[in-house]
């Protein structure tokens, strides 16, 4: 089969996850979009997520390339012992940006 025959005719492209960076900050997940390739994904990301604001950088990654935990594994992976309160930073004011466990 030639490459042309292999191309689907009504393909809306792959799903991509978009991460954007504001000046001096880490990249954070902004959302997802569809695009046929990385270059177009970056273009689209610029239009969909980065037209306003102080964005200084963009990452895109195919959603299919992200290895992720399953919601069903939540208990097994993340449920820590509830009895060891001393492990949690409860006893002094949290620095900015840090979340309660």
């Amino acid at each position: 089969m030639s490459i042309e025959e292999a191309k689907p005719t009504h393909d809306q492209g792959d799903l991509w996850e978009v991460f954007l960076q504001e000046d001096g900050q880490p990249h954070v997940h902004a959302g997802s979009l569809r695009a046929p390739d990385a270059e177009m994904a970056l273009q689209n990301a610029r239009d969909v997520y980065a037209r306003r604001g102080a964005v200084t950088g963009l990452w895109v990654v195919r959603t299919a390339d992200i290895a992720a935990t399953e919601p069903a594994d939540r208990a097994a992976l993340f449920d820590g012992p509830r009895t060891k309160a001393y492990r949690h930073a409860h006893f002094y004011p949290l620095p900015g940006g840090m979340k309660e466990p």
Partner: protein, 258 residues
């Protein structure tokens, strides 16, 4: 009205209107895709580019009105001129066609605008140099977008290639006008206000042809010039339809502010 202006000012007004009307009409054409583009992402992209173009038009029209000194602001110039008073080139008023057609039109314009606005940044008329510097950054992005689509559609499926080639063939004759030189263009160039349009031709052809080849598209043979001249106010029928839509709200509600 501009007849009464001193020659230098009349030249600047004429030049600003040509630049502004290219952006205004192109921006309106792109806005016609709003809600209809092939992908939601593309809908947003095309609408953004349309807004950029309208923004450039607005700055240029405002400046044209200021230099003219007859009390016409950007809205007055955009919405209360007749088709024969518009100075845009015919390429930008061509109907959208399919998405390939729109992207080819955009690409042909974007390469030209990149060269033109690069030159205008060095304009001897400071307000224009300032507008050009701001617009040029956005135009570079427009060219990346349209250029990327021309590549993908040209070197895509047999159908996308056929449609893209048909667009190139249909629009090619209208590109000639981008480089046409008349008295006003010569006067503007002599005053250092804008580059001579014909000087941009070689670089434009080189870039466009290289890109079309990369997109596996055929570069059309040179064609006879189209028998209209948008710069002189002689337009195709489609500009009248476009302006009827574009001007309908302000004309239905004269004096309304928004």
């Amino acid at each position: 009205m501009s007849r009464e202006l001193p020659a230098a000012r009349a030249t600047i007004v004429e030049l600003l209107l040509r630049l502004a009307d290219d952006r205004l009409v192109l921006g309106h054409r792109l806005s016609e895709w709003c809600g209809r583009a092939p992908l939601p992402e593309e809908d947003i992209a095309v609408a953004n580019i349309a807004l950029d173009c309208l923004g450039h038009a607005s700055m240029l029209l405002e400046e044209a009105g200021r230099v003219e000194g007859q009390g016409r602001d950007a809205d007055r110039l955009a919405f209360w001129r007749e088709p024969y008073e518009f100075r845009n080139c015919l390429l930008v008023e061509q109907p959208n066609g399919d998405f390939a057609h729109t992207m080819v039109r955009q690409f042909l314009v974007d390469v030209h605008a990149d060269l033109l606005y690069g030159g205008l940044e060095a304009s001897s008329f400071p307000p224009l140099a300032a507008i050009a510097a701001k617009a040029h950054k956005e135009i570079l992005y427009h060219g990346r977008h349209s250029g990327a689509w021309v590549l993908r559609l040209g070197d895509g499926t047999p159908e996308s290639r056929a449609r893209t080639q048909a667009a190139v063939d249909a629009l090619w004759a209208y590109t000639d006008e981008l480089f046409a030189v008349d008295e006003a263009a010569e006067a503007a160039a002599a005053a250092g206000v804008a580059p001579v349009p014909s000087r941009l031709r070689q670089e434009w052809r080189m870039r466009v042809e290289a890109h079309l080849r990369e997109a596996t598209l055929r570069v059309p043979e040179a064609r006879p010039r189209v028998p209209f001249r948008g710069r002189a106010g002689r337009h195709t029928e489609s500009l009248g339809h476009l302006l009827t839509v574009m001007q309908s709200v302000p004309r239905a509600h004269p004096g309304a502010a928004w």
